[in-house]
Amino acid sequence: MTKPKGLDSLEPVAGNGLLHRRLFLTGSAAVLGATIMTAKAAPPEVPAWMKTPGMPMRAYGERSPHEAGVQRLVNAQPSTTGSGGSRTPIEALEGIITPSSLHFERHHSGVPDIDPAQHQVLIHGLVERPLIFSMEALARYPLVSRIQFLECSGNSGGNNNAEAPQQTAGGIHGLVSCSDWTGVPLGILLEEAGVKPEGRWLLAEGADSAAMSRSVPMAKAMDDAILAIHQNGERLRPEQGYPVRLFLPGYEGNMNVKWLRRIKVTAEPTMTKDETSKYSDLQTNGRSLLFTFPMEVKSVITSPSGTQKMRGPGLYQISGLAWSGFGRIRRVDVSADGGKTWAQAALEGPALPKALTRFRMPWRWDGSPSVLQSRAIDETGAVQPTRAALMAARGAQFRYHYNAVQSWSVAAAGDVSNVYA
């Protein structure tokens, strides 16, 4: 290596063809791309859609019919239609905002059809003044907006199976989405009700027919919890809790109670079904951890990713998502040689706290079998673990909070598949 690796260099910055993260910001990539583009130049033509006026305006937009194949992966529990989940096709999306129509779902008894004129939220329990809030009242409170992710703690759990599941990135990791959430800081409402000193927890309960309920620490409620009423500008989608949901930035999805109807301030956790029998973490010694709330640092390459096919050697942009329930993403490293060597990826900024963060990395694939990985580091210094390290620490029986490095194998023919590496 005689000259320094820099923006003007097409020399790899790590093994198997990883190039400098800022390559695409300079003119250097054009040189590389020119050979590919010339073959595609077509003679001038006037396509059909230039010869007739287009469609009229419409009051509520729809995506192009050519994009209709981008769908959530729906998986309902046996003998039900509304219980189960659907996953965001993260491999088909770019940027960091998940379209509301593609936000992942997890329901316990379907999506209720709630009349906002009749819906109310009760705050009671260990408070000076039990209060009832109508939706009209809530909408008059000071609002805050934040771009933040929501992730089910069961996300990526398929990767703790003995055999690597052969699915898309969304099929494995699609229980995460990111929206611009707008709502009322819960602390304002709790102040008005007057929380008694012994009120260290609260119970949040939904108005679905499972009356889904979870206990939440008062410190979180007073920190950054909101009662969300808008998602990506419009009112919440029914699947996301219309007309109001609890939103707890960085905390496991199940706690973000949808269709919120009641908050009861309590001294201790209520020990609901979901926080004891379901979302608790059984360890190798047979003991279980309750209340493992934050979602740990994680990343996944979405392009190229599982079941996709690369079209021959050449210059590609690796693109992916990173996030942490503890704050901002500080850095993402990418490897093209199964973790032997790493190079720093470019982060699309600003990297927001507790939000999906897009990372990108140029890669010149030489057509040889390769293993792509990404490794995120958050602002607390937490490093995303390897799968081997995570499995060694937690054993085979754990179910939630899987956050290990994802490995995608690229075969010589271009087929991308999930591997444990």
């Binding site: 316990h108 039990p130 102040e191 929380v195 000193p197 109807r261 209520t270 004891t276 973490d281 059984l282």
Partner: protein, 175 residues
């Protein structure tokens, strides 16, 4: 707004004061309204209604309204298995049931009352709910076949896996 100063003083003691003021649009809830909304049961049994039930009565309810989803005698399929699994929690494929895993008996009552039967929640009487709870606990050999479950006895039931839970949550230091 009207009680802002008093509220601040109270929360100052708790150390969780919130910085922003609201417009005070909440309507005071009467004790009767709160009683009508509050369906949660604490692990100490707070909130359990009057009434009682036994396993024998619970089996009648179960066979009519639960068996289609949870199988004969709670064996499971198509949905959650409710019985057995004791001794499997260290296995690679542990079976987490009411008997093998759940730490509190009160949670069974709470969950059945709020969410079951799946297609007709909030349709059971308190007595039917106590009876179903007794049946599921008796199937798991947690209580005797003739034990009566009510607001007094249910919170005292000792679940086999109760001592195996630890809280991972640490409250931040108060300012």
């Amino acid at each position: 707004m009207r009680k802002w100063i008093a509220t601040l003083a109270v929360c100052g003691v708790a150390g969780v004061a919130y910085a922003q003021e609201g417009p005070g649009l909440g309507v005071p809830a009467t004790p009767e309204q709160v009683a009508g909304w509050d369906i949660s049961i604490g692990p100490d049994g707070a909130g359990l209604p009057p009434g009682s039930g036994t396993a024998a009565a619970g089996k009648v309810v179960y066979d009519a309204k639960c068996v289609a989803c949870h199988g004969v005698d709670g064996a499971g399929r198509p949905n959650d298995v409710l019985v057995g699994g004791q001794g499997t929690l260290r296995d690679a494929a542990p079976i987490r049931t009411i008997g093998s895993y759940w730490p509190y008996a009160t949670t069974v009552f709470d969950y059945v009352r709020r969410a079951m039967p799946y297609v007709t929640p909030h349709s059971l009487t308190p007595g039917e709910t106590y009876a179903l709870t007794a049946y599921l606990l008796a199937l798991n050999k947690v209580i005797g076949d003739n034990d009566v479950m009510n607001a007094e006895t249910l919170p005292k039931v000792e679940m086999p896996n109760r001592a195996s839970f630890d809280s991972a949550y640490r409250e931040p230091r108060r300012r």
